[in-house]
Symmetry: D2
Subunit: 406 residues, 4 copies
């Protein structure tokens, strides 16, 4: 053992109480230590859902909880005989580590942030695993390529295809946790997934994750749950309206930064991002605590636009919206007229959502079905519900959002 304590175990299993799974179970020293790093604890300060909580008040949970949840599903997956056999002890730890750290790169209101600052939370997460000194030290205790391998899985470099498939695909530990967790915290009736059943029918065949045919209904149920969670929860127009306020705040902040506006709060980390979106040290400061405190400091700022947007965010002034289709072109044009050119940039937005419940073309992400005779088929060949979903095509929704005074 050159690199150190390979797969060192805790003297006694540690658990954390979790409302979804009962307990999160930790056996490995490396996982325990990774959880305790400041960079992972930082995820307590990044909420899982941003705009959604404005509609579903229960959805106040963080990416910390979700990351532990994704890890716990990976932990349970490792009781599946085929999977346990297919992965070496080190690969099992890689899987656990990748599940735990898959969202490490998320910051405050990432989706809005990424649109404006052109960052990518997956790339950043993969870099943090390599470059965050405290975490790196923990991972290096396994061996000196462990961090690189975990990071590679997040980046999907193809070195560990099974682990990559389980960490990020059409059916992975990430989605399995967030659908269930978001359903639990929102109170939505739809996100429940039969995890036990999925695990009982999961196998490894020819280096691929496959599901026995008798589990097709559990997969169908998962896809329908996902469909409903997306359209009822994640794409809720009020939630989208709120996300747009955040995006516009970022946009205005960026523009003001460039113009050397004198801000009330500590704007340095954001300024740093404009100069260099790869500045990790500043990036990780931009968590919800930071952004929320910053926006609060703008409630009396001089800039009209920033002040109004900050007030919208703080005091839940939800923007209006109407469908953008042939019948509303005129109405939208009229609404726009009510805004000045400058206001149009910051106070209006036109956004289209398109969602495919199951993609048959995305070959890399296919869900594979193991037939009783040992051959491998596709999900759409075995499920009439999935065929039905494919037949009905992509569902889209385009809306025009605009600010209104309270």
């Amino acid at each position: 053992m050159l690199g150190g304590e390979i797969m060192e175990k805790l003297d006694r299993q540690q658990v954390m109480k979790d409302p979804i799974y009962g307990y999160i179970h930790v056996d490995l020293v490396v996982i325990k230590k990774a959880i305790d790093t400041s960079i992972f604890q930082r995820l307590r300060r990044v909420r899982q859902l941003s705009g959604v909580q404005m509609v579903f008040h229960g959805a106040e949970h963080s990416r910390f909880s979700h990351s532990l949840g994704a890890y716990e599903i990976a932990y349970r997956f490792l009781t599946i005989p085929d999977l346990k056999n297919a992965l070496s002890e080190r690969e099992q730890a890689l899987f656990l580590g990748a599940a735990l750290l898959h969202d490490l790169g998320h910051g405050a209101y990432s989706h809005a942030f990424e649109d404006i600052f052109h960052t990518n939370h997956e790339h950043i997460g993969a870099r943090l695993i390599l470059e965050h000194a405290e975490l790196r030290k923990v991972l290096d205790q396994v061996d000196n390529t462990f961090a690189e391998d975990v990071s590679g899985i997040i980046r999907k470099n193809g070195k560990f295809p099974i682990i990559e498939a389980l960490t990020s695909s059409q059916l992975d530990v990430d989605r399995l946790d967030y659908l269930e967790r978001d359903a639990y915290f929102t109170g939505a009736a739809y996100g429940h997934i039969d995890l036990d059943r999925l695990m009982r029918v999961m196998h490894v065949k020819n280096g691929k994750i496959v599901f026995r045919q008798s589990g097709v209904h559990a997969i169908e149920n998962y896809l329908i749950s996902r469909y409903h969670m997306y359209w009822q929860v994640y794409y809720h127009p009020v939630s989208r309206a709120y996300e747009i306020v955040l995006e516009k705040i970022y946009l205005r902040l960026k523009d003001l930064c460039i113009n050397d506006y004198r801000f009330e709060g500590d704007i340095e980390p954001l300024k740093a991002m404009i100069k260099n979106p790869n500045d990790l040290e500043n990036y990780i400061k931009i968590d919800d605590f930071y952004m929320n405190g910053l926006i609060a400091s703008f409630l009396n700022t001089d800039d009209d636009i920033l002040r109004k947007l900050s007030d919208d965010f703080m005091n839940r002034n939800i923007w209006q919206y109407i469908d953008d289709d042939a019948s509303t072109k005129e109405e939208i044009a009229e609404i726009k007229q009510q805004f000045s050119q400058l206001e149009q940039k910051y106070f209006t937005a036109d956004r289209k959502i398109a969602n495919l419940t199951y993609s048959e073309d995305d070959l890399a992400n296919q869900i594979h079905i193991l037939l009783p005779d040992g051959t491998i088929s596709t999900l759409q060949a075995e499920s009439r519900i999935v065929r039905g979903l494919i037949l009905t095509g992509i569902r889209t929704d385009q809306k025009f959002f605009y600010r209104r005074e309270k």
Copy 2:
């Protein structure tokens, strides 16, 4: 109708999805508008449990959710025939309003805050109901004494004894919601309460809330749940350790303010509180967004003590603790020796918890039992479990907490 639209109803009932009750139901215009005020929306920025979430990661919910929950229980209570009959339409609205607004005065990490700044969230809440212009305007639309009456219920001025009993007593809408809600979000197995049963046996007799004898077991269950939630969740030593860090941060901030320390972030609201703890305008700025942002800004501050405490808070450096009893006096003295006089003030704490599951002496808060013959008895007379709890006396726990370097 001088004052305006008494008990004006919404055109259509509005609902908010809630993970505990399915829906929060709103019928009255005044409730809808009160929820929409910025001072109520502010509760989204104040978490329900502070230290607890460091042990139970799911417990990230806000006082906003809990306030809606307490309101919903009040709403359901109003389907109890006796209660509906005992309260006029206006009193019913008062009950709903008081339930909704009972926690309005909470700020960031209130318990720690109150210890240092000598504020009282109930008094502040009662004042906000009267003095917050936006909210006051909403309440005045009912009539010009409505705000005063809601505020009076929070202050327990005795004018509406039934509503006061239902809002704050040994068995009230506040406790009924928070036990259930905190159990749901922590994942604790203990907080479940048989609300339907309690409601079915609740009556009003001689101007008092009473419970039929056949519901004694449901009350017993509630008290045992409360007992377990307190000792397993709220009093968890790690949670208490974390609360102490917050208290010490407040203490250091106060001391530094007095000494005119140059802070990184916007310290004005806290400074204002030192001068005048009754300064509502500044008080309401001190929510979690503000405090969390502020503490984040201290990670590189010059003051050693503030920097270390801020780091403890941000990066979950949990303090150590040992029982403080006859056998540990010496050990505690030794630990103290390791700290300078100044450090002892900020880096150590000795705290005692004492909890009585059911108090027979607190006459005002007695739970009354209605016997089949129509007479009213006490809970302890009718429940051997409650008698047992009383017989075994007060449970206490004293611990010494101290900082350790990571």
Copy 3:
């Protein structure tokens, strides 16, 4: 009021604890008395699912529980403003009565029984409502056409179209209860229905039950749940195999009766049914208690076939089965060869199942969607999931079942 006490209420609402809904609520005297009749109590002796419990051991619940459940959903439906307004007080009671009594005509293992004895539980139920003296007396206390009207709703005579639609259609109180209840008792993960949501979007428009567009996802979820419950639970091949044993027992009993076989137990009620399938007095004796006791008495009977079938039933000797399709014709023929002509009649069966998740052709049973502009659309027009299900057509499953010796 000629007939007596129209809609007389109980002095105090009575409740029965129910594992699904918490409580079954009874306000009306007529409902309370109907539940207490011997003919309704008889449903305690008829299980809801026959073969299914051989696969899902938890599914041991009776039609009594289900009937109370369907009633409770009707009771809750009557809190929907539109529905309450659309129905007179008497019609509301008719709805409650029809929901409660809709399964009154079920006997032991009805599906197998009906195939052999050519009875129809709905016709029998409708007749029992009119002809069972004890029950009739209860219903007559409302008025002298109440029994006739309840019976007419069960027979779907078209007099109360809204009540008929709510009692028996593609989305009715019967299905809503049994899917949820069967899921609860089997432990299946699929049957959960968002009843609250369905109720919130249900309206009456132009004399029809319609659902607001915003509830389409809840209907989709219900249809998918139904689809999965059918294919995973109700159509489970082991369950079907067990139903066939029951059918063959009935067949053999009938044949032996005709040949004047000397039975051990009391065969009279069955003999009576052969002579006259309309003999209600004997029909209602044939509950599970009777049939199970009777079959137990055949474990040592002389007739080989009856004895073997009874043993299969009592001791869970599950028959074998294979798919019946082009590829298995030969294999099936070979299996048949192993049985004598007589045995083929009693020890083999070929059964085909065909199920349409949602029928667009069945105009009477359409689910109607109310658009925001007030016009009424169809479910398939508004739901891509339903369109997908229709596009993929009828799902069938044909199997050949045969006895094997233990």
Copy 4:
């Protein structure tokens, strides 16, 4: 290996869907085969709760389900490190077998039956394990003392003290399953037990089952749940009234048998029991199917008393009851006067219930608490709730029950 295939495993783990635990897991061939025996399948025909279902209509589950549940808890217990280490592979199988078969000796309405026929279901169960040929053959495949050892555990012969303690004590797999299961099926809010927590704190020390101090609250919760289940569910007076009807039916049947009454149905198995309560062959015929069918056959019998009792049973004619205490002596005497001497024997009963929630005197059954310093304490020393329960003594309830005509 003389005896055969020690602890032979199934090729693939088999599972049965269970509403409480998700799945019942079977790994061992001997367990699989034991479940398939006719004597175990017979438990499908014996309901878990007899009178209780007359109050809680959902409680229609059988001893088959409960036996599988108790087995599953044992299965899960075997993942507890201490327990796994303390038991050899064969002992683990003994534990599983004893958990599965612990209720094998139950017959129709056992409690009533035992009172009249002086049988004992535990003795009978222990004998069936040895003497039932089909089952014995299965158990002998492990080795030729396996059956004897399982039987000895049921009889508590002291050979395997840990397994005995886990199978039958104050906290065992039997109680853990039935409290949870009966709560689930009745819908009672009280029976929930934190099984995961109990398992996490369970250890084996000095050959005893002990629980870490940090689990005391979970044990308290279990005892309070048990207390509430007993008084709210099992001791419900309507349920007790119904049990008395059954007891009186057995009593009358016995008396009539002795007098050579000509019965309608097949009375032979009962007659055999009068002659010889040890006649296993006849005993096992007396399941619910048999008894229910038999009682149904008495609805038109000539004997007045038997006919009336049978009608009470079939058509839910619940007997009246009043408290039997100092104040009601006279009233009870008057009620008795309304019955003839003969009727008093069959139509009245005086019954007292006494229940101790936790017995400190029952040394063999103590729950042991493992203190942090490694010493073993008692539950009452560590739990103030348990001390409270002990202090308040035995709770009793005495009632006089009597028949009334409908």
